[in-house]
Symmetry: C2
Subunit: 332 residues, 2 copies
């Protein structure tokens, strides 16, 4: 019989605490200890920050660790709980999904106490951490193989009041892009669960495969801006510099029509940059077949006037693989 | 009995030809057809350009395809042979090594006629293409998980005359870095074989995981600069713009002492940028343990005054994994 998940310290304890969230052992592996930071300064916003949901997206864990160093001096009120790495075995394996059971942690919420390890992680987070927060920042990145600008994202939410609050929170990151991303209808996402309980949930999608010094500085600035907007720390929020510009734009996308797919197998060459505004028919990329130099290369062109917000970063793609994603200015 | 490798056309035929290099079938898989481009304009330099040796380095195949489009109008003399993808099954699998036999193509030269598929590819290239060239450009990249500037590289060569010619050729790319990289003593590398036959061999190491529009423009400019230097095409060579600068520097490295390794397991956070000049003791990166917030993070510091030329781009690393590589100005 699997035991219940537990914390090694009391989240209601005032001040700073560092400990672990214990995910009980199961048939598939031993118990896990997820490192947890808590800074409880009493009244004020209650924020949960998570990183490392997917093991090949390491911007989140790095920015979360920076917050653990920064907050003890900076936080003025409220409560912040941070779990830098939700899925340690996926991080160690540099894989999106958990190696032991092959599951995507962001598709199994609220999890199952007696399920496989990924479900047990979701269950522990859902039971012990989520109820402590009014707002959640889940630090992801778009993952390797894509060029993607630093963005705060949300899916459309049925409740208009929660939608407005969520967009306002996402825009407070002051990242180059705030994206309202049409939901693919996948069950088990962390944001859907949090929103069901009326919480504001912002997913930071921190670019593609490059976790370099300059990119991390932008991501840290984005999260700090959001903490300032919540009133948890003092300071002046400002747009970080991205490609020589200090600006942000809000975009929305419809998942099915805004995903451009390859019509053949080949190596994809990007012919535009993310955040390029393109007209109908503009060249976005070229598919080169790898087995012939006489077979025609295939142009991928823009279906309409739009903004490119994600583009494959040099990959061999199969028929129907998504190679670019486009969006339009958010109108609300 | 494995048959001998063959070309589907005669490389001595004048003008442009597109065909295939047939790598015979063996016990492990069917015959492969590697697409080959040849433009024979008679007297002049004889150049072989190869890409896609490693399947997770797609800058080379993309730049090679661009050359196939550009050269018919631009080449004025000599002979150029291009194989955009040396290892198609590795490219399709996005893996460094060949999936079928698990071998690294750049460790099995000159290959074996009756060996496994990777050895048969090396054998076909060594027998039928390499003898046709005086100069070889092998288009690699540093691979995912690293931040690395566009660079032309060579290992040290015992013959001082060939070393000087090779460095001159590498510098003609006018990329941000020309790197003389101390040889790890690995047997079976393509460059070692070519150099044994007195050929000039330059390896282009085209950055890390990001194959975006801006990066590809730099790589294309580099190869075009080298073609101009060889006299194969007309034009004016110029440094491409990289991080708002148009410049190049020549560096050298000693493999063992210039590889900085992690002393523990953890997530590596880069704290400097590639091409930063650092002093002894400067912070290059931080290792964060993933299982505890009370265990100390570990600083990785520069051992001497040097230039950082490669740094891990957000990865979980184990003890003794290389996290940064440094170099010094080339003195010859």
């Amino acid at each position: 019989m699997t035991e219940a998940p537990q914390l090694t310290f009391d989240l209601d304890k005032p001040g700073m605490n560092k400990g672990h969230l214990i995910v009980p052992k199961g048939a598939d592996c031993e118990a896990l200890s997820l490192a947890v930071f808590s800074l409880n300064k009493g009244e004020g916003p209650r924020l949960l920050i998570t990183g490392g949901c997917h093991g090949d997206e390491l911007e989140g864990p790095i920015v979360a660790r920076r917050l653990v160093e920064f907050l003890p001096e900076a936080q003025t009120c409220g409560r912040i709980i941070i779990v830098p790495v939700l899925n340690p075995s996926a991080v160690q394996a540099a894989s999106r999904n958990t190696p032991v059971d092959g599951l995507n942690l962001n598709r199994v919420f609220p999890g199952r106490t007696h399920g496989s390890v990924t479900e047990r992680i979701a269950d522990a987070v859902s039971r012990l951490l989520l109820p402590m927060a009014d707002t959640v920042f889940d630090l992801h990145s778009f993952g390797p193989g894509w060029d993607f600008p630093p963005a705060s994202t949300t899916h459309p939410i049925a409740d208009p009041e929660l939608m407005a609050k969520t967009i306002k929170m996402a825009q407070a990151f002051k990242l180059p892009v705030t994206l309202v991303w049409e939901h693919p209808g996948s069950p088990g996402m962390f944001d859907t669960l949090a929103q069901k309980h009326g919480k504001v949930f912002v997913c930071a999608e921190f670019g593609g495969g490059t976790v370099n010094f300059e990119a991390l500085a932008i991501y840290e600035a984005g999260v700090r801006n959001a903490l300032i907007a919540l009133g948890l720390v003092e300071g002046k929020a400002d747009y970080p510099t991205f490609r020589q510009q200090k600006a942000g734009q809000a975009l929305e996308t419809r998942r099915s029509s805004d995903e451009l797919k390859s019509s053949a197998r080949g190596i994809f060459k990007p012919c535009c940059s993310v955040l390029d505004e393109v007209e109908e028919g503009d060249l976005l990329g070229i598919l080169y077949p790898i087995d012939s130099l006489t077979a025609d290369a295939i142009d991928i062109r823009s279906p309409s006037k739009c903004i490119v917000y994600a583009i494959r970063s040099g990959a061999h793609v199969d028929v129907n693989d998504v190679v670019a994603m486009v969006a339009r200015p958010l109108i609300r």
